[in-house]
């Protein structure tokens, strides 16, 4: 949706109960009155003030409404799990209750992500999409690079399993589905393959690009990553370090995303 001057202005207009949908991009911050109309139900991110008349925002974000339900969606918040989400997990602690451990093993195994590296971005930058497994095809490293976008903001970037790869690996078993139909030995193997330097370079470049976009709050998509990688190749950056200089970063954002003002 385009943002025109009106929507960006600080002027605050109250929600009109008759009008629906048009103000969905309205921005509020905590303590601001979202509406005083009685017919609204209040949803997440809102609060009834002391007088009991006004619906007040409790987070900074956009006002959203579905019929009579008004809620404020925070621009930045912790990951809220939903059914069907694909997440990338990281083991930080083991609880040594035997039955727990056994049950978890039915669904997950440690070390089932391999041949790559983990990178973490704010969860709000990853949208729920049809697929969260991307393969960036071979110009991006000799075997391509696989990317698993966890909705929780954890991203696994690893060696591609496309046609160029020398091992026939089960591809989509990594995240957390049941292992039916996949080769368990390979999916749950925790042995890394030998990864040639160009592939390593490609993997770390993809990670660096992801972090660059994350710093500027740009949501990640397959095409964005691909075109950014292409841009790096095009500009002859293949042999240089993966972390871009400030100037190159600016150029990348300007040419790929269209952000001109990046001074923060």
């Amino acid at each position: 949706m385009d943002m025109d001057a009106n929507e960006q202005s600080y002027n605050y207009a109250e929600l009109d109960p008759e009008e629906s949908g048009s103000l969905e991009r309205q921005i509020t911050t905590p303590g601001e009155v979202v509406t005083s109309a009685k017919e609204f139900m209040r949803g997440h991110g809102t609060l009834l003030d002391a007088s009991g008349e006004n619906v007040v925002a409790t987070v900074a974000g956009t006002v959203e409404r579905v019929n009579k339900l008004v809620s404020v969606k925070s621009v930045k918040s912790r990951y809220n799990p939903e059914k069907g989400d694909l997440v990338v997990g990281r083991i930080t602690e083991r609880r040594k209750v035997e039955s727990d451990a056994l049950k978890m093993r039915e669904f997950l195994a440690e070390g089932d992500l391999r041949n790559g590296q983990l990178t973490i971005v704010p969860a709000s930058l990853i949208r729920r999409l049809k697929t969260h497994f991307y393969t960036l095809p071979p110009p991006c490293g000799p075997q391509g690079v696989d990317v698993i976008l966890g909705v929780n903001g954890y991203i696994w970037v690893c060696l591609g399993s496309g046609p160029g790869s020398d091992k026939e690996r089960a591809t989509q078993g990594g995240g957390g589905g049941t292992s039916d139909g996949f080769d368990n030995e390979l999916v749950y193997s925790d042995k890394n393959d030998i990864i040639p330097p160009p592939s390593r370079q490609a993997i770390s470049r993809v990670c660096a690009l992801i972090q660059t976009f994350a710093r500027y709050s740009i949501p990640l998509t397959e095409t964005l990553l691909m075109s950014a990688y292409e841009w790096c190749r095009h500009n002859g950056l293949e042999e240089t370090g993966v972390v871009l200089s400030r100037a190159l970063e600016k150029q990348l954002l300007e040419e790929i995303v269209g952000i001109v003002d990046t001074d923060e």
Partner: protein
Amino acid sequence: MTFTPQANADGSATMQQGLSTVSATVFGPREPRAQSRGMLLHDRAFLSVEVGEAAWAQQGGSKRSRGDKRLTEVAAAIRDTFEPVVMLQLYPRTEISVYIQVLGSDGGILSTAINATTLALIDAGVAMADYITSLSIGLHLTQPLLDLSGPEESDIPHLVVACLPATGKITLATLETRIHVDRFEDMLDVGVEGCRVLHAEMQAEVRQRTTTIVERMQMGQGTTAAVTA
């Protein structure tokens, strides 16, 4: 007043008032760390606040360590100030940690820290009923003075006020020296007025940042089609 993106934090902000600079970093709501698991509450989140001071923060280089009594007091005051305003009941069984670093110390550390914490909590997307803004008010003869510097603070009686600007409710008023009761009301009024001004400034900053992020989120979306074409 800046939002300083810190890689691993959920929210962070740096506030500068005069020569005092304080940065606040918020983690959470998250599962309580092992050392604070005992404080876990079943029906709401708990706030933990830690205050540290950089070695160079004060003139003369007298270093205060983390266990310093004054800093602990500041931490306790911040926790008590935010507890009623942050909507803790929304995040049961979690911890919200606020880490405060005093980078430059020239009076009004408590109020600068409170303002920085407000911004950092908003940045982290933690639900709050309102902003909390804070100022120190001094008294020279009969004249109330706003936002004292370090030397002023040590010489004249002063009051630290934190309030919710929308309702004018006061969540914190601390006085370390004695003043005449007749002067107190004047000082409080001036302080609340000052807090309102501060609120307007902070609100504008938060809005601007939120607008930028919303725009960015849409930008990425809109241009992907154009790039592939």
